[in-house]
């Protein structure tokens, strides 16, 4: 079951609407990370994401499995975009589905938090002044 995906295509919520369907599901939480126009005071014009794909998929699926067990989820899914992204485009989507809302919310948060510190994907920002830089990350 490979629920963690890497894509260079535009991510649309619609294409993922079949995730988390099932008669026992009462709650679905969805998180979208979006490219915004500023970071730490600098005006961003676009972003590039680069990925160590084989390990990213392995680690991403591990995170989804952890969340599924920990929060008794019916379904969990994550897709991360790579390549060049414009302001307003979706970089990552997480979807969780469970019987009750508490689990769906907490699992969704767990997944995006872990993805952001464990999955080998790197962001390079391009600024309005022509400069660009790889972000430093929390590490």
């Amino acid at each position: 079951m490979n629920k963690f995906k890497i894509t260079s295509d535009i991510i649309e919520i619609e294409t993922n609407k079949s995730i988390g369907r099932g008669k026992a599901i009462g709650a679905r939480a969805l998180f979208e990370g979006i490219v915004r126009n500023s970071n730490e005071g600098q005006e961003v014009i676009k972003l590039e994401y680069e990925c160590y794909e084989s390990l990213a998929i392995k680690e991403g699926n591990l995170i989804l499995d952890e969340a599924t067990k920990q929060y008794a989820l019916n379904d969990a899914f994550c897709v991360h975009r790579i390549g060049s992204l414009e302001i307003g485009e979706t970089a990552v989507i997480v979807i969780t589905a469970s019987k009750h809302r508490d689990e769906a919310f907490r699992a969704c948060r767990y997944i995006i938090d872990e993805v952001k510190i464990r999955v080998p994907i790197w962001k390079k920002e391009h600024y309005i002044d022509g400069e660009s830089g790889w972000l430093k990350g929390a590490g």
Binding site: C51, L55, H80, K116, P120, I121, W122, W134, G137, G139
Partner: protein, 83 residues
């Protein structure tokens, strides 16, 4: 040749830009660790990379003091900034 190993190092993000390469082959001595290889890379490319990396060997997280084997694929993983 018995105590020489051939490994592949794959570069991402900032290291890729600093080396100007996506991957590179190194012939190393038996007993070499990722830590030793990082030293080779810094020396060869005249760059300073620091130690703020995680290590992956053959697509598995590993350690700085892991003893490399012939044919290993080594990646130095900068702090991730996805999402």
């Amino acid at each position: 040749m018995a105590d020489l190993l051939k490994i592949q190092v794959i570069y991402f993000a900032k290291i890729r830009e600093l080396t100007g390469l996506t991957q590179e082959t190194f012939i190393i001595k038996k007993g070499f660790t990722p830590s030793n290889v990082l030293g080779l890379i810094e020396e060869k490319h005249c760059i300073v990379l620091g130690v703020n990396f995680k290590i992956a060997i053959n697509d598995e997280f590993s350690d700085w003091d892991f003893e490399l084997r012939n044919g290993d694929n080594l990646v130095f993983i900068p702090p991730v900034t996805g999402g």
